[in-house]
């Protein structure tokens, strides 16, 4: 692997096209150096905006996480790892971590399965396929907040459409979002409903990249439909599988909008995700230091899980 990289990387000498002269300032060299400012200047707007609005807050949040930083308080005492230790003993944090893990595992598995199946069914380019595909993809382009609001109204046990339909069928009304047992599954359902189209599109892109000869070869070998999917399709789209699961995992771990709009983390913290907890501590209770610590722990968890996924799919191996 490593030899490949060093082997193909062009050396300075060959790139310059000529051996640099021994003397320091040849006219040719001076001319070459001046335009080097240009890339920096063109990058400057993005770099400055990124620095001020992304990089600085990130570094700052790490700094805050070592303080008992409360917005508006007259003193901000340094507590070292105090916030992280407090986090370790905070039952609300463990609850939020459990909720987030449940949400992520169930959502990602469902999305991968549903996304793959719909992609297999709808990968053709017929008009019907395109229409159904658009229908599936539609929720993806709508904001999560809107989707949360709409579903919240649909599922309302007293005035919602779902309750109305259930009533006409003689079924009892169900407290989808206020029951401690049903709230999380309901939120997961809505999240999956929204993102299936997204997973599907990624898988279709992956499927289109599989060389047709492989299918022809397996056909010749007399492989059945399932065998082809298992032995040809899935291994061939491994990069897509990895990318999709990685993106979906990161997305699910950061679930906030849906929870905030639909349940606010309730009932009784049954849907209280990590980001929801972070939001509450940081922006409702103004404990910025503690919230920053949560965000860094969240970052670490996502990092570890992403690395595990990369390892699982052996992405470093030569394909």
């Amino acid at each position: 692997m490593t030899s490949e990289i060093t082997g193909t990387a062009p050396s300075r000498v060959t790139r310059g096209g000529a051996v640099p002269p021994a003397s320091a300032e040849s006219p040719a060299r001076r001319r070459r150096r001046r335009p080097r400012i240009a890339p920096w200047l063109f990058m400057a707007p993005s770099a400055i905006i990124l620095g001020v609005f992304v990089l600085f807050p990130i570094v700052r949040s790490l700094y805050y996480s070592f303080f008992d930083w409360t917005v508006g308080a007259s003193t901000q005492p340094f507590v070292g790892f105090g916030n992280y230790i407090k986090l370790f003993h905070d039952s609300q944090f463990w609850n939020a971590l459990r909720v987030t893990l449940e949400y992520t595992v169930v959502s990602v598995v469902l999305l991968l399965v549903l996304g793959f199946i719909t992609a297999l069914l709808l990968q053709g380019e017929s008009l019907a396929n395109r229409i159904v595909r658009s229908v599936f993809f539609f929720p993806t382009i709508v904001s999560l907040v809107t989707i949360g609001m709409v579903w919240k109204f649909l599922l309302d046990p007293s005035i919602g459409l779902v309750d109305g339909l259930a009533a006409t069928l003689g079924l009892p009304s169900v407290a989808w979002l206020t029951s401690v047992h049903l709230a999380l599954p309901t939120v997961i359902f809505v999240g999956v409903w929204k993102s299936t189209g997204f997973a599907m599109i990624l898988f279709i892109a992956g499927l289109k990249g599989v060389p047709q000869e492989r299918y022809e070869a397996s056909n010749l070998d007399g492989a059945g439909r399932w065998q082809t999917i298992w032995s040809i399709t899935l291994p061939s789209i491994r990069p897509t599988l990895l990318f999709t699961s990685l993106i979906l995992t990161i997305q699910s771990f950061q679930v906030f909008d849906l929870v905030y709009v639909m349940t606010g983390g309730g009932p009784l913290y049954a849907t209280d995700s990590l980001v929801n907890l972070l939001y509450r501590d940081g922006f409702v209770n103004f404990q910025t230091g503690y919230a920053s610590a949560i965000s860094w722990v969240l970052f670490a968890i996502i990092m570890i899980i992403s690395l595990l996924q990369l390892r699982l799919f052996r992405y470093n191996d030569v394909d």
């Binding site: 400012i37 240009a38 200047l41 063109f42 400057a44 707007p45 770099a47 400055i48 905006i49 620095g51 001020v52 609005f53 917005v71 508006g72 308080a73 007259s74 309302d156 046990p157 007293s158 005035i159 009533a167 009304s173 407290a175 206020t178 029951s179 401690v180 606010g264 309730g266 009932p267 009784l268 913290y269 922006f283 409702v284 209770n285 103004f286």
Partner: protein, 420 residues
């Protein structure tokens, strides 16, 4: 050619710097010699909003030298923006920081508020002795007054006359025992006897606890939910909800309101802001005073939002002038009559015109029996969310009262700093 390109690059660079800096530039108030402009932020988005806007409009018309600019946003937004805005000196001159009176404590702690000194009698002063006493106590720290009530109201019992008649009940309940029996009788055929909310709401459960002889904290800010009286006070309504299903479980305030306005609940405990919506939803609405409690006495919740001045305002005199105008008798009377809300003054309750209005008089007649929720309790907001809301959520879902109150007591005591 080369030169122009360098110039273009310089422009790109300069623009990017300007762009980045514009995000953190602070705008300063105008220093021209025209009238003074005061910024006012509130979260009054309900049916009472036009009433507040009218006060500001009238003030501006009668005060050529001071102009107030009213900004109305949701309480959530105000609560998020105001602390940092006031700390950095870029916030409004005057604001109603939150509908939660305890908010004032936090702002006092961070020295964000101007102590109010323009008190006394007469129309140009703030007549503190004529304002609701519990609010003035709530807003006074170390002998200094930091806010005046922006509004004040009690909660009453809303009921659906049609559903009452259908259940053969002629009058609204007058005792809490009657209310419990009625709630059971009214619960049938997809209709709930009462619509109770336990989160994101004006506090309904504390009223029930008070009526049954219980409370949340005592005068030392120590939790009393686990005491014998505390547990007993939760029993009746927890059972009614968990076993007899007289109300849906876990509703937010908005959900509880929509249930009542859909005609699917017969009673609700709520403030005057709810009345216009229920009437326009076609509910045959009755509003009664809260029934008397187990000890025969009346009790209800007093709800208020404070109106405070920034410590960094450039116009402390003018800001206090506005507060004096806002709380003055004539202005409050006009506000009350146009919005149907009780006023923040106690000397208006005997006013013939206000007495003649059945809605206002129902709410204002309970002022003497009203209590603020968790007044001056440290970390009151968390005591509410982590202590009370969790407790009610658990017992209405079937957790035993002994178990739930034990956990709530230790949570609340941890938050208030009570050690016993």
């Amino acid at each position: 050619m080369k030169k122009s390109r360098t110039a273009a690059l310089a422009v790109v660079g300069a623009m990017s710097v300007a762009l980045a800096l514009s995000g953190c530039s602070s705008s300063s108030g105008s220093t021209s010699s025209g009238p003074v402009t005061l910024q006012l932020w509130t979260g009054f988005t309900g049916g009472d909003r036009p009433g507040y806007a009218q006060i500001v409009k009238d003030f501006n018309a009668s005060h050529k030298d001071v102009q107030v600019k009213l900004t109305v946003e949701s309480w959530d937004t105000i609560t998020q923006k105001l602390p940092s805005a006031w700390l950095t000196g870029s916030g409004p001159d005057i604001a109603a920081p939150s509908s939660d009176p305890n908010a004032i404590a936090d702002y006092v702690k961070t020295n964000s508020l101007l102590p109010i000194t323009n008190t006394g009698s007469g129309d140009s002063k703030i007549n503190t002795s004529d304002l609701i006493k519990s609010t003035i106590d709530e807003y006074t720290y170390n002998g200094k007054l930091y806010a005046v009530p922006a509004n004040y109201t009690t909660l009453s019992l809303y009921y659906n006359k049609k559903l009452f008649a259908a259940a053969g009940i002629t009058n609204p309940p007058t005792t809490v025992a009657e209310m419990a029996t009625d709630a059971q009788k009214l619960t049938k055929g997809g209709v709930y006897g009462i619509s109770l909310a336990d989160n994101a709401t004006i506090q309904m459960w504390p009223v029930l606890q008070w009526l049954e002889g219980g409370d949340i904290v005592n005068s030392n800010n120590c939790s009393v939910v686990q005491t014998a009286a505390g547990q007993k006070s939760l029993e009746t309504w927890a059972n009614l909800v968990a076993k007899d299903k007289v109300s849906p479980v876990g509703q937010t305030g908005a959900q509880a309101d929509s249930l009542f306005s859909a005609g699917k609940a017969a009673m609700e405990i709520n403030g005057p802001w709810a009345a216009p919506g229920y009437k326009s939803a076609g509910i045959d609405l009755g509003i009664a005073t809260i029934p008397t409690g187990v000890d025969g006495k009346s009790v209800t919740l007093g709800s208020t939002a404070p109106l405070a001045i920034s410590a960094k305002t450039k116009y402390p005199k003018q800001a206090q002038e506005f507060l004096a105008y806002y709380t003055s008798k004539a202005v409050q009377k006009k506000f009350s009559l146009t919005t149907g809300f009780p006023s923040v003054r106690t000397d208006l309750n005997d006013d013939p015109q206000i007495k003649a209005d059945p809605t206002i008089s129902t709410f204002s007649s309970q002022e003497a029996d009203a209590r603020l929720y968790l007044p001056k309790v440290p970390n009151a907001t968390k005591v509410d969310t982590d202590g009370e809301t969790t407790l009610i959520g658990q017992i209405t879902r079937g957790t035993s009262i002994a178990t739930a109150t034990k956990a709530a007591q230790s949570t609340i005591n941890g938050l208030t700093g009570c050690s016993q």
